[in-house]
């Protein structure tokens, strides 16, 4: 039979963006080892509601690690203790009976809290808006095989393209920098011939937008890479920096 355990939870409650917020505590008995972390929170909310208490709000959707909705900081680690896992895929068997677990929202000025553990990540959308695309209209594309792309290059672009936009990189960065997120999109598109034409404008516009949103500088802590659920390398940031300086120097 599966193992059951007691978990002592401490979680952030904040009624809205202007509320100061505080921690609340709750002890859950009968936490099954096969539960995902978010299922454990579902159970917490069921108990809270039946006790006429307010449930704790948190973001989630696909629960299979790809949509990027979930982003909790658990005991000070974005997406919890395991590497290469989004919190929706974290299972309670990684915890022990009697563990104390603190759950906080990602904390960054550019990710203001909406409620409890739910934050506003629209700053990420605006970074993409600034230039995270290839300007090609529907219907104007050339034949797909017209431009061969070396497999290695295409695979490298893919490695950057897998970003799920969860914001764990920002949450974990001691500076609250969005460089990994921004760099990943720049590196993905700038690596491909399709993205080549706009590479300079793209990198400059996206870096400017990233700053405007109020994220911090990148100090090369590489903590973002450690917490990234899809393991995007900080090489993305190197690509961004090189492309940016190239764009400035060439003055294109």
């Amino acid at each position: 039979m599966s193992k059951e355990m007691t978990i002592h939870l401490k979680y952030w409650k904040q009624n809205g963006p202007n509320d100061t917020g505080h921690f609340e505590e709750y002890t859950l008995d009968n936490v099954n080892e096969h539960m995902s972390f978010l299922e454990m929170l579902d159970v917490l909310n069921e108990e809270l509601m039946l006790e006429d208490k307010e449930p704790v709000e948190f973001d989630y959707d696909c629960r299979e690690g790809i949509c990027g909705s979930c982003n909790l900081v658990i005991n000070g680690q974005a997406h919890g203790p395991k590497q290469r896992v989004a919190v929706c895929q974290l299972h309670m068997r990684n915890y022990n009976d009697g563990d104390h677990v603190t759950i906080e929202p990602p904390r960054a000025a550019a990710f203001p809290v909406i409620k409890d553990l739910v934050v506003d990540r629209s700053s990420f959308d605006r970074i993409i808006e600034a230039g995270g695309y290839v300007s090609v209209k529907t219907g104007s594309a050339v034949e797909a095989n017209a431009i061969p792309i070396e497999k290695e290059k295409s695979d490298a672009a893919f490695d950057y393209a897998t970003c799920i936009g969860c914001g764990a990189c920002v949450a974990a960065c001691p500076n609250a920098s969005a460089s990994l997120f921004t760099g990943a999109k720049i590196a993905h598109l700038n690596k491909l011939p399709q993205g080549e034409v706009e590479r300079s404008n793209r990198v400059v516009a996206m870096v400017e937008q990233m700053e405007e949103e109020g994220f911090g500088d990148c100090s090369n802590f590489a903590e973002c890479e450690a917490v990234c659920p899809v393991g995007i390398s900080i090489s993305a940031i190197a690509e961004m920096r090189k492309d940016y300086m190239k764009a400035v120097v060439s003055g294109e």
Binding site: D42, Y60, R63, G132, T138, A144, P148
Partner: protein, 640 residues
């Protein structure tokens, strides 16, 4: 209600081109006078919003997630079909069309499916141009792989994340237009009603999910690209927030709902482990290429699977289907898994699982070869279950995956409400009674990039440019009042059972009786049980929190309320369809060998349901759109 599918005449290959020649155009300077609302930002919605804006229309885009990029299209793993014939293996538009029609068990419209095949190639071109990093050969050209239901390799893929990459392509195209101001972007907004004025869709009511405020938006046309309704089962591979609300409320305003009983169940998912389970995770179907499916021959055999000797194992797919073995189509594999578990042979703590065993494949090819093929899937399995599939057979069970039914649409993707369109999984159009693998992405993008941008112009050209009724119009007021009244009602019940509890209970009824296999008695029981539970829901549900704040449980309450109504319609539809077709297996209508038995004489039609009211029971009128097969010959599927 009038059902005109508006399929153009002429030879199959020329219908779409002819239609494009015949439809009306909107002049460039008039386009900016029209406003189009697109609800949903998945492949269909994202692609449509971007394409409309590129054409010069004013677009408003809505999604319930915090960003357009999170729509559930993102989770599609396998790939996208196209008739490029790059491998030179004899593929063609005709073959893709034929495979799709046959895969759908001859319950889809020939003309739509043919068009889908025609535009499939353009989708690949478009995606590549956007920078979608599809898998490539060493020579630099695009790679293909094969998928179920086809004898050619026509599936384009980006590792196991094809949906993600295609969605990001559409999302980025959309964000480019947001930046230009051509799209007004409203994430964290849920559509609660469609506003119909003088018989035309003229806008929507949404709830701002952050502030809780109800908002009114007026437009010249509304597109619903809001996905499928698999979450009526509570447990499915859908995202937790996927829902039928937008489609269902449009249905209640007059849009016919087609084929709600066609639900695809995917055979290889990780089984349920307990009541707390919130969703099911799909494991790629490709695992069946090397894994052998079996259960112990003895009931309640709780030995470790590796200790069960060969002669005490029941390799039921291999025994029953010697020709296809473990590679039978999805519906057949799912049905058989359910049958052996119903017979008490299921494994695991719940008895609702079968083994998918790689022992023989590992003995034959070596662990490294198996790891190279399936390493990421094995890791995912181990991460979720805590069991090592290299050493112990996987436990799998079918799970609801995709809904072929949806809002009825004509050839233009217009619903029975003029000016209201439905795209992607939200409509019923292209997959008949069963969808083939790698066809959902193709359909969503086809609708969004290459069909709607043309067909919606035909409608708009006939509307007076810039005509506005104003959001003070009675129809807006009335729709908002109704939405508000439902929210207030839900919050005021203050009962004793949680929303999740109701949803889970509803899901169990739907799964047990309107699931993999259905019969008349079960369906009738289901209808009774759904009605009773729905009654209790409206008396005893507990919805926490406030209406003027972020409140996820309030959102869910509204969605579950709609699932309760849809579930009854699914049962009605399944009861009406006295045949088996594709994923709809009526136990009364099977061949002697236990296979689906179609009745083409009487049921070769689309069931389109018109909402009439809800008075303790759901009142709906059935309309039939006859399916004419001019170009393909109807055959019985066999996989023996």
């Amino acid at each position: 209600m009038k059902f005109d599918s508006k399929v153009p005449g002429g030879p199959l290959e020329e219908k779409w081109d002819k239609h494009l020649k015949d439809i009306n155009l909107v002049s460039p300077n008039n386009k900016r006078k029209y406003e189009i609302i697109v609800v949903g930002t998945g492949l269909a919605g994202g692609a449509a919003a971007a394409s409309f804006a590129e054409l010069g229309y004013n677009v408003r885009s809505f999604c319930i997630q915090d960003s357009a990029r999170r729509a559930h299209s993102i989770a599609a793993q396998g790939g996208i079909n196209a008739a490029k014939n790059y491998p030179n293996d004899g593929d063609s538009i005709w073959r893709l069309f034929y495979d799709t029609i046959k895969g759908g068990d001859y319950r889809s419209r020939e003309s739509n499916v043919y068009r889908l095949s025609q535009v499939s190639n353009e989708i690949i071109d478009q995606a590549v141009a956007q920078g979608v990093p599809f898998a490539r050969e060493y020579g630099g050209n695009l790679a293909n792989r094969s998928f179920g239901g086809a004898q050619v390799s026509r599936t384009f893929y980006a590792r196991g994340q094809t949906g993600q990459q295609l969605l990001l392509g559409a999302y980025q195209a959309m964000m480019r237009q947001v930046h230009k101001g051509n799209i007004k972007y409203h994430p964290r907004h849920e559509m609660l009603d469609v506003v119909v004025i003088d018989g035309q869709a003229r806008g929507i009511i949404t709830r701002d999910l952050v502030s809780g405020e109800l908002c009114r938006y007026e437009a010249d046309a509304v597109v619903l690209a809001t996905g499928g309704y698999g979450n009526v089962f509570y447990l499915s591979t859908n995202a937790k927030n996927s829902n039928v609300t937008a489609a269902w409320r449009a249905h209640k305003r007059g849009a016919a709902f087609a084929n709600p009983c066609y639900v695809q169940v995917h055979p290889t998912c990780i089984p349920v482990s307990g009541d707390y389970q919130s969703k099911l995770t799909l494991m790629s179907e490709s695992l069946r290429n090397d894994g052998r499916v079996w259960v112990p021959k003895e009931k309640e055999d709780d030995r470790h699977p590796n200790e069960i000797p060969e002669e005490e194992r029941y390799y039921y797919l291999e025994e029953r289907y010697p020709a296809f073995g473990n590679l039978v189509p999805r519906d057949v594999a799912s049905r058989n898994a359910k049958m052996v578990c119903d017979d008490g042979l299921g494994v695991g703590e719940t008895g609702l699982a079968v083994y998918l065993d790689f022992r023989d494949a590992i003995d034959r090819d070596g662990k490294d070869a198996i790891s190279a093929k399936y390493g990421n899937l094995f890791d995912m399995y181990e991460n979720i279950t805590g069991e090592n599939p290299y050493e112990r057979p996987m436990r799998i069970y079918p799970a609801v995956h995709y809904t072929m039914g949806g809002l009825w649409v004509d050839y233009n993707l217009e619903t029975t409400i003029p000016g209201l369109y439905a795209a992607g999984e939200a409509n019923f159009s292209d997959h008949g009674a069963n969808r083939l693998g790698a066809s959902a992405l193709m359909q969503g993008l086809s609708d969004g990039y290459f069909v709607l941008p043309y067909t919606i112009g035909d409608y708009l050209a006939k509307q007076e440019p810039g005509k506005r009724y104003g959001t003070d119009h009675d129809a807006f007021q009335e729709a908002e009042n109704e939405a508000q009244a439902q929210i207030d009602k839900l919050l005021n019940i203050d009962g004793n059972r949680t929303i999740v509890d109701f949803h889970r209970t509803l899901g169990k009824i739907v799964w047990d009786k309107i699931g993999i296999a259905r019969n008349e008695e079960g369906l009738k029981q289901a209808i009774e049980e759904i009605r009773e539970l729905r009654e209790e829901f409206w008396q005893n549900v507990k919805v926490p929190g406030e209406k003027n704040n972020y409140n996820k449980y309030l959102e869910f309450a509204g969605r579950v309320a709609d699932f309760f109504e849809l579930a009854e319609l699914m049962a009605e539809d399944a009861l009406n369809r006295e045949e088996s077709a594709g994923c709809h297996l009526r136990e009364e209508y099977q061949t002697d060998e236990g296979e689906a038995l179609r009745n083409d004489e009487e049921y070769s039609y689309v069931s389109a349901w018109e909402y009439k009211g809800l008075n303790g029971k759901l009142e709906e009128t059935l309309h039939k759109e006859n399916l004419e097969f001019e170009f393909v010959e109807l055959k019985q599927r066999s996989y023996k």
